[in-house]
């Protein structure tokens, strides 16, 4: 990823994140979260993770945040706009940020300064050797492309098949639970 694109998307994300807490209007805050997510998707796509970037937009921006916005609009939060800032929550928030920052610096200073391998033809061709010949993944790796969707699918369904199924069942249980709870009828 060219560095100017990285700076562009990071700036978009930071502005979005700052705007979330700066705005008094909840709808404006929700839209700032959307901006932040779009910037994050841009960063993912810049790292050649097209699938993750697009799913980021599809799921979080296109569905989750729309529902947030929906609820905020239906609740019509008026008193949120008027509330004055009190010192204690701001101080607590700042404390959290500082703690997180210290931790981050601690981790970054200890991790070795590795540069990611460039995704050029020899690297990709070497990676292709790990897959059966004539499979779609091997063919496009040999052509110098990164088949990220196929790779994610391959990893999920071979290495993490059981956890994936368990997660699926868990989500199903949660969904059915919500339906049962919200549709409980009077006897």
């Amino acid at each position: 990823m060219p560095s100017y694109l990285f700076w562009l998307f990071s700036t978009v994300m930071l502005i979005g994140g700052a705007a979330v807490i700066a705005f008094r209007n909840p709808v404006a805050s929700a839209l700032s979260v959307v901006t932040c997510f779009v910037g994050l998707a841009g960063l993912f796509i810049g790292l050649s993770a097209f699938f993750v970037g697009v799913i980021q937009i599809l799921v979080y921006t296109g569905a989750v945040m729309v529902l947030f916005l929906f609820i905020i609009m239906l609740l019509d939060l008026k008193d949120e706009e008027k509330r004055a800032k009190s010192l204690a929550p701001v101080a607590a928030g700042l404390g959290l940020v500082v703690a997180f920052f210290v931790q981050l610096i601690g981790i970054l200073s200890r991790s070795p300064n590795l540069t990611a391998p460039a995704l050029d033809n020899p690297v990709l061709a070497a990676a292709a050797a790990g897959f059966p010949q004539n499979s779609k993944i091997a063919i496009s790796l040999n052509q110098g492309k990164l088949p990220d969707v196929h790779l994610i699918g391959h990893t999920l369904f071979t290495q993490y098949n059981l956890p994936l199924q368990i997660l699926g069942v868990l989500l199903l249980v949660a969904t059915i639970g919500v339906v049962v709870l919200s549709k409980r009828q009077a006897d």
Binding site: A28, L31, L58, T61, G62, A63, F70, M73, V149, A186
Partner: protein, 416 residues
Amino acid sequence: MDLLQIAIIITKIIVLTFLVVLPLVPVCVYFERRFSAVIQDRVGPNRVGIPLTLLGFKKDFHFFGLIQPIADGLKLFLKEDFTPAHVRKVFYWMAPVLTVVPALITVCVVPFGSPISLFGHCEKLVIADLDIGPLFVFSVASLSIYGITLAGWSSNSKFPFIGGVRSTAQMISYEIALGLSIIPVLMYFGELNLSNIVQQQADHGWLLLPLWGHDADHTLTSKLLFWFPAAIAFLIFTISIFAETNRMPFDLPECETELVGGYHTEYSSMKFAMFFMGEYAAMVIGSAMIITLFLGGWSIGFGLDAYVAKLHIGDFYFGGFIHMGCFLTKLIGFILFFILVRWTVPRFRYDQLMKLGWVVFFEAALINVFLAALIVAAPELKTAIIGIGAVLLVVLTAAVIWVAKVSEETPKVLRA
């Protein structure tokens, strides 16, 4: 990246987005008005032209009303742009833009034709040849919900708000059916790149018309077997596109009889026109997606594509432009189909719409995924396993239908 490449990309963006897709919007409006007139046994707009009678001639010169869209556009441009005092200004201004822009961004992954080449330089007729085509279209198109929701909310009056809320619920519900319905298609092609999907259809027959290009990997039997899940997917996808673009019979967000005009009641002039531009652009892109995934995209079919791709004058291979013509013909045909449906089918009730989305299409698409998986995997499985799979599929289908039936039997009294 050198300057030539950037110039080519910018040319493609300008030509394909602003000279091909955007002019299709007024064309749609013209078709909408003339075609509805034909259906209702009227004449429709046919007068706009050069008023020669003013100059003493006997007859006006009109172009069969073809200039009507220009007159419409001019009217909307010149109208007073009125902003009501009670609206939330920033969001009110942002909403029309948020409906148009995502629709136009999605143009960038639609393959308009086969590659053309000049002086040995080959160029694909697609702005960005992404490997995640359909997902990109869905994700960016899902952003246009914000435009409609914000328009309804920022207008700060009741009917637009109800329109916006209806639209949000409708689009989120049908996005699920939309996404699930194309999974069989993606499984069959093993590919998310729209250019490659169309190329495969050109070589081995369209998904819904698999009658040519048979070989060992693509036998006629396997293709005909896959025709059934493909047809179900096509039905669900097409109807969901109707719902996603807020077209009749699902245009409840702007249902005139209940909501005045829906989410755009408080809008006037060009801002109002931008909502319509967004809606028609979404319709054009939706049709383009249906054609690309199911009806062969730019392919002419019947094994003629390889021949057309070889046509050239000297070093200039122009087959791509013929394919583009074919694509646009199909596109306009599908747009006419959209208009035909709008003026034929009456509007659904809101609960019927939600039921269709959640109870019928969601389940049908899910079962269709299993059916397609069984058919795709069948050649590599033993007969016994195929039999067990088929039995399971039938049991699953029966269970789903039973649950759908039971859930609607008695109206339940909810606790207050």
